[in-house]
């Protein structure tokens, strides 16, 4: 007879990664190729499409992101329900998320590409993305130099730990996912009706 306690524990246990470490890098390359391909085809490697979103003229970025979120969310939560994938939740630190987010946004507007789309833009022959990529490396170093200080200060402001939206609202995950998928889809439909691009 199966020990019921053990069975439950097995289902919530970390599933072993289906592929070994060396081929994991190969998979990373294949997935990266697909990601860059999709970003370029979606036009989000183009300076005017990205800046156009920040100027609220071209809503391609919002449409791509919202569709990816709805499709991704439904799939990931179904897979997680059947213990096929792990969630990868980053801790919520309200101060760091807000200050970092605003700095990121300012930099995004100056460069016109974000870290992922800069890579796709470089591939598409937008060489100015290189200046931004060098800046991203330099900025990462600058942050590392400051990281001892940020850990003692900013990253302690409003530390809520690993928390999901449904936890915050005290709703069952399944209910929230369905409701949120419907809400985001409605926003996508509105965007399609109200925007030219």
């Amino acid at each position: 007879m199966i020990d019921p306690g053990k069975a439950v524990q097995q289902s919530t246990e970390k599933p072993p990664p289906p592929v070994a470490a060396t081929s994991k890098l190969m998979l990373g390359a294949i997935f990266g190729l697909a990601f860059g391909f999709l970003l370029q085809k979606g036009g989000v490697g183009k300076f005017n499409v990205l800046i156009g979103q920040l100027l609220l003229q071209d809503f391609t970025v919002a449409k791509v992101m919202l569709t990816a979120i709805v499709v991704g969310m439904v799939g990931i939560f179904v897979l997680h329900h059947f213990a096929k994938v792990n969630l990868h939740i980053k801790p919520t630190r309200v101060g760091a998320n807000m200050i970092g987010g605003l700095l990121f946004g300012a930099g995004f507007a100056l460069l016109g590409y974000c870290p992922g789309t800069a890579a796709a833009a470089l591939g598409q022959g937008s060489w100015d993305a290189l200046f931004g990529m060098v800046g991203l490396v330099a900025g990462s170093w600058l942050f590392a130099e400051l990281s001892g200080w940020t850990q003692r200060t900013i990253e302690k402001w409003g530390d809520l730990g690993k928390v999901l939206l449904p936890d915050l609202l005290h709703l069952p995950r399944g209910v929230f996912v369905v409701g949120f998928a419907v809400t985001l889809t409605a926003i996508i439909v509105l965007l399609e009706l109200l925007t030219t691009r």
């Binding site: 860059g36 370029q40 920040l54 799939g75 980053k90 100056l110 591939g123 598409q124 942050f143």
Partner: protein, 200 residues
């Protein structure tokens, strides 16, 4: 009383009218005058959503980009100042290595190239047309602004814990509170600075 309140409003509108006409006559930056996406954003968005199922299932990793740049800076740092680099708090928590995320972003460059070449969209240009229309054709100016933007973006991404990929797609689709706060702030910061740059 009612008229008194409305009068300054009316005068204000009249005063703004010539300003509005001036703006209309000399069209400001309009992103829609430049080429858009090759594919429907919904197809691409759904594709990225499905891709994230695959990366979670097969690689136990969410899609992300910004940590790649931190790894490159760590490699360079270790090459020139090994001990100092290893003493920094960020690199203690995140030792730089050639891992899945690193290969993923390198391949993203190649994926962008394949898409552009197969779609006849390979540009090979140092300056985007929309930038030239606003700021002229100085590559040096573009280089300085783009570099500064990159620096700000990296500091912001590391502080927030991710970028438009790690937070904007992977984190938001997991309903991570950190990601939703960050993404809203990405756009508040981005819209503010972009409006100042292109609309003022």
């Amino acid at each position: 009383m009612r008229i008194c309140r409305k009068a300054p409003c009316f005068i204000g509108v009249l005063a703004l009218l010539p300003l509005h006409v001036a703006v209309a006559v000399e069209p400001g930056a309009n992103a829609l005058n430049y080429p858009g996406p090759a594919w429907s954003p919904y197809i691409v968005g759904a594709g990225i959503g499905v891709l994230s199922w695959l990366t979670f299932y097969f690689s136990d990793s969410p899609i992300g980009a910004s940590s790649f740049y931190a790894k490159v800076s760590g490699f360079i740092g270790k090459r020139f100042a090994k001990r100092h680099t290893e003493s920094l708090a960020y690199f203690k928590d995140n030792p730089p290595c050639m891992d899945w995320e690193f290969v993923f972003v390198v391949a993203t460059i190649a994926g962008g190239a394949i898409a552009a070449l197969t779609g006849g969209e390979f540009t090979s240009e140092w300056l985007p047309a929309m930038w030239v229309a606003r700021f002229g054709d100085s590559i040096a100016l573009r280089a300085v602004v783009a570099f500064g933007g990159g620096v700000l973006m990296a500091v912001g991404a590391r502080l927030a814990g991710g970028c438009t990929s790690g937070h904007g797609i992977s984190g938001t689709l997991q309903l991570n509170v950190a990601s939703w706060i960050s993404v809203v702030c990405f756009f508040i910061g981005g819209i503010t600075v972009a409006m100042l740059l292109f609309k003022l």
